[in-house]
């Protein structure tokens, strides 16, 4: 079978896209459609599962199989698809409220099990669909409709959380940077097992310019730390570097340190500690913030082990035989009622 040749239009549906004009979701949608079209994989093999929230309308705009499900539950539902159908490519579209608040439990457990899900978390640090309450990634002190005196909730760092759950693939990218986004999508797609991608996504209505430190022309030069495998971690046009000190990642002036002391990025380290240390460089996009792949390690997937157990059981005891199963607790025979002494 020859690989199908697709354009982005093949992955678009006839449904009108209903995000607010200027929403970062448009860019992400276009990037994902473009990326999938370029893979040449049959369209019917993709499944997009979402929860509830602005981001979760995404499946309606993807001409693949899709489900717009319940708030927070997409990783659980997608787990049922992926564990029973390893032949499919299963994607979860979620947001900061969906994945980290109501669905936090499902997210960490899907990651820990290493089920083959590609989880795209659109983080805009606000509740958009319910019109502007603070989210579990909103900064402390944020004034919103539900926090007129400022939020007192300490926020999650989604990358730290995913690394803490020992996800085998953890990355962060930006809605606006389509090239970077596509690179990360490709690495996630090629990674067997769970892949977690935090996408900083601008909500221009309720939380505009939340990521200005990483997207603004002036600001991004100083704040964007690009993690590149095999390379020393430097940024700000080489002026700044990242070192490990007492297990903690620290930003230093490049000129003040021996170049050999600069941390070389290696996402394939089996231990997640250094990746975690890198994720602590920022607690939100307010200053120097790493983007790229924090972790990319190999571990058997849940579904491959489940399939292997089934195959082993069949090899050991043979294909299931229902008549034998129902007689497996011991049987007795009642032969002929006319001769029965009872």
């Amino acid at each position: 079978m020859t690989a199908p040749s697709y354009t982005r239009a093949d992955f678009q549906t006839d449904q009108e896209v209903r995000w607010c004009p200027g929403c970062g979701d448009y860019t992400i949608l276009a990037t994902v459609q473009q990326f999938l079209a370029g893979l040449g994989r049959p369209r019917e093999e993709f499944v997009f599962v979402s929860g509830i929230g602005c981001a979760s309308r995404f499946p309606y705009y993807m001409n693949t199989y899709g489900m717009h499900s319940i708030h927070g539950r997409a990783p659980a539902i997608a787990s049922g698809v992926a564990t029973t159908r390893p032949d499919l490519s299963v994607w979860v579209i979620t947001g900061d409220g969906d994945a980290l608040s109501i669905g936090g439990n499902h997210l960490i457990h899907a990651l820990r099990r290493n089920i083959g899900l590609k989880i795209l978390l659109f983080n805009n640090q606000i509740y958009g669909l319910t019109k502007g309450q603070y989210s579990p990634t909103s900064e402390v002190g944020k004034q919103t409709k539900s926090t007129p005196y400022g939020s007192i909730d300490y926020p999650f760092n989604p990358v730290s959380l995913a690394l803490g759950a020992e996800a085998t693939f953890v990355a962060r990218t930006l809605d606006m940077d389509r090239i970077h986004n596509e690179e990360i999508l490709r690495a996630a797609y090629e990674h067997p097992g769970s892949a977690f991608i935090e996408i900083y996504q601008n909500c221009n209505v309720f939380n505009d310019k939340a990521f200005i430190q990483l997207t603004g022309k002036e600001e991004r030069v100083h704040n964007r730390i690009d993690l590149e495998p095999g390379k020393p971690i430097v940024f700000d046009e080489g002026a700044k570097a990242v070192m490990l000190r007492n297990g903690q990642a620290t930003v230093v002036d490049s000129s003040s340190v021996d170049p050999g002391a600069i941390l070389v990025h290696d996402p394939t380290r089996p231990d997640p500690s250094i990746g975690f240390a890198l994720s602590r460089l920022s607690h939100g996009p307010f200053g120097p913030t790493p983007l790229g792949i924090f972790r990319n390690v190999s571990r058997p997937t849940y579904e491959s082990q489940m399939t292997a157990q089934i195959e082993t059981a069949r090899e050991k005891v043979g294909e299931g035989d229902l008549s034998k199963l129902i007689a497996s607790h011991g049987t007795w025979t009642v032969k002929d009622p006319s001769a029965n002494g009872g």
């Binding site: 199989y65 899709g66 698809v81 564990t83 029973t84 499902h106 229902l322 011991g330 009622p337 009872g342």
Partner: protein, 623 residues
């Protein structure tokens, strides 16, 4: 005649023959009473008796030893005819300690046989049970036939050469008691010995100790004057066939596997451990060679969620729990209803609300099953009537879910789940296949796929699974436009879709068997039941008839939709009685549906009806 395993008996033994006997094993929850009861039951089943069992155990894994809350018991009725319940009143009670005696003695029939472990009646245990004086000595047990056995001492003696030592020695005392009961009730000994050899194959010293204790108990019977008279219950005249003794959770799991085979769909079970449903998960997880995938989820919601995903992907998808867990799944069940995906939801009911009585039976989730969802979401609800009936009802749940593309709720309860009965094995080759056709081709104009274009007979929508070229489509919780499945907020469309979904489920009434009436169809009183009360209702009606009076019974296995002939049946009786282990839930449904003044007999005491309770209520209504 049923195959009878001969056991040599000395000629000095005297026997009395009964048509039925009820035996209860009671002891501390660490005393192995469930094992002793089950093995006695298995031996009786293999001997050919009809039987029914009722285990009862505390929710605590190890309540403080020797205390009243720590008492665990197992009741079995054996008979030479087709009995329907584990019996109201034990004829024989085994009490392994004072707490077990105190908690169970009032149930023992006057003149009944009492086997007690006299070694356990020391001051400390007596105090823990709240006895001021030793009931073995103060006349409390006058009027019973008491067989006092120093079980600790005799067990130690019996197992001394087996290789077990220390605290493990006394673990075999349940086998000593079981051996004595095997003697008293003329049970075959081979099945228990064979079981012990197999069960403890990895620890042969434990097998040897248990067998030694069992044999010591058996020979003790011969040597004990009080045990000289033994009891015989002859094999029952059951319908010819091959039988097994089955509990409800195992039969339900097997029914799901059968449905998987009959439909050709791989089975997926998403679940979170909860009493008393966990054994379904345990049983299914053992049978991976049937292609079964079990998923122990992080919580109840993920259990049903994963099952919904598996359904979308083309599996026979099932989730199971008990009341509290079903409450957590409620939102997801409505999603499955909205998306019109086939899903089986099993509720093994227990005493509620909240944590309630986790190890006790109750039927209090009926209204919750019928109505416990947001929005207009009337899903089919069916209920098994007995342990073995869960096999057929699991297959039926699958048939309805797959044929009508809907979640189906299957009700069991703790009595069905853990109770057991002989089951005539069905001929699996004669089971009706469940036809499933995935959508393969476009069904709309210009090669489009219309996910809500319905089947003209069933009103089910097509099931197009991922991987099928050209049928890519999106479903979800938002209301969908009829036919196209596009998101729609149109007022008329929501009315149409709400009505259509309701009609689709209501129409299932034409695809289920009519309710059957048993007994005297010309009686004035009909006793209507559902679920696990089946046995006690039928047995009570039988007693009423033996008393020369007329009564009819009917049992509902379909609660939504109700059988089409139900109204006609109900209207042909002057009085209707509905016994339920709740405060009158089916009664409310019947009153609302048929405007009939039906009467209830209701009990929420964490135990099944006694036959006598239902019998008394029927007789009272006749006055």
């Amino acid at each position: 005649m049923a195959e009878q395993i001969a056991t040599e008996r000395p000629e000095t033994a005297r026997t009395e023959t009964f048509d039925r006997i009820v035996i209860r094993f009671a002891g501390d929850s660490g005393d192995g009473m469930q094992v002793a009861g089950s093995k006695f039951t298995d031996a009786s089943a293999l001997f050919g008796n009809d039987l029914a069992t009722l285990p009862s155990f505390p929710a605590e894994i190890r309540a403080p030893a020797g205390t009243l809350p720590g008492v665990s018991s197992f009741q079995v009725q054996i008979a030479d005819f087709d009995i329907l319940t584990a019996g109201d009143q034990p004829d024989c009670l085994v009490a392994m300690n004072p707490a077990a005696l105190r908690k169970n003695l009032e149930d023992l029939r006057q003149g009944g046989t009492l086997v007690v472990n006299t070694d356990a009646f020391d001051e400390r245990n007596l105090a823990k049970a709240g006895y001021e004086a030793n009931p073995l000595e103060d006349g409390t047990l006058d009027g019973y036939r008491v067989i006092g056995v120093p079980m600790d001492e005799l067990t130690k003696e019996a197992v001394k050469d087996s290789g077990v030592s220390g605290r493990s020695v006394l673990r075999s005392k349940n086998f000593l008691a079981l051996g004595l009961l095997a003697w008293l009730f003329n049970r075959p000994t081979e099945p228990t010995i064979e079981w012990a050899v197999k069960k403890f194959a990895k620890t042969p010293e434990v097998a040897a100790a248990n067998i030694a204790a069992f044999q010591a108990g058996y020979t003790l019977g011969e040597a004990t004057e009080a045990a000289k008279t033994t009891f015989v219950v002859k094999p029952a005249a059951l319908e010819p066939g091959v039988y097994t003794n089955i509990n409800g959770n195992s039969a339900l799991a097997w029914g799901l596997i059968a449905a998987s085979q009959l439909s050709g769909l791989p089975l997926f079970y998403g679940s979170y451990p909860i009493t008393p449903a966990s054994d379904i998960l345990h049983e299914l997880s053992r049978h991976k060679n049937f292609g079964v995938r079990t998923f122990q989820a992080e919580d109840e919601i993920a259990g049903v969620g994963a099952a919904i995903g598996a359904a979308f992907a083309g599996n026979l998808a099932v989730t199971g729990s008990s009341g509290p867990g079903i409450a957590l799944k409620s939102e997801s069940i409505s999603l499955a209803f909205m998306m019109e995906l086939p899903l089986i939801v099993i509720n093994v009911q227990r005493g509620g609300p909240s944590t309630g009585l986790p190890t006790k039976p109750e039927q209090s989730d009926l209204l919750f099953s019928l109505y416990g969802r947001h929005g207009e979401s009337p899903i089919p609800v069916i209920a098994a009537a007995s342990p073995s009936d869960t096999f057929a009802m699991a297959i039926e749940a699958a048939r309805l879910a797959l044929r009508y593309m809907t979640p189906v709720l299957l009700l069991s309860d703790n009595q069905i789940a853990n109770g057991s009965e002989p089951w005539k094995l069905p001929d699996v080759s004669a089971l009706e296949p469940i036809s499933v056709e995935f959508a393969k081709h476009a069904n709309g104009p210009d090669g489009t796929f219309l996910p809500y274009m319905r089947n003209i007979d069933t009103f089910a929508r097509p099931w197009a699974i991922p991987g099928t070229p050209g049928l890519e489509h999106r479903i979800g919780g938002l209301e969908k436009e009829a036919i196209t499945g596009n998101v729609s907020y149109e007022p008329a469309n929501h009315q149409l879709m709400t009505d259509t979904r309701a009609w689709k489920v209501a129409n299932i009434a034409n695809d289920i068997p009519p309710v059957e009436v048993f007994g005297d169809t010309d009686a004035d009183i009909l006793v209507l039941g559902w679920g696990s009360t089946y046995g006690s209702i039928r047995a009570a009606a039988r007693r009423v008839r033996l008393g020369g009076k007329k009564v009819a019974t009917a049992h509902l296995r379909y609660l939504n939709p109700l059988p089409t002939n139900l109204g006609e049946v109900l209207n042909s009786y002057k009085q209707i009685l509905i016994p339920e282990l709740n405060t009158g839930q089916l009664r409310r449904v019947i009153r609302a549906e048929f405007l009939l003044d039906v009467k209830g007999l209701n009990k929420v005491a964490g135990e099944p009806f006694k036959i006598a309770e239902i019998e008394a209520r029927i007789l009272e209504m006749m006055k």
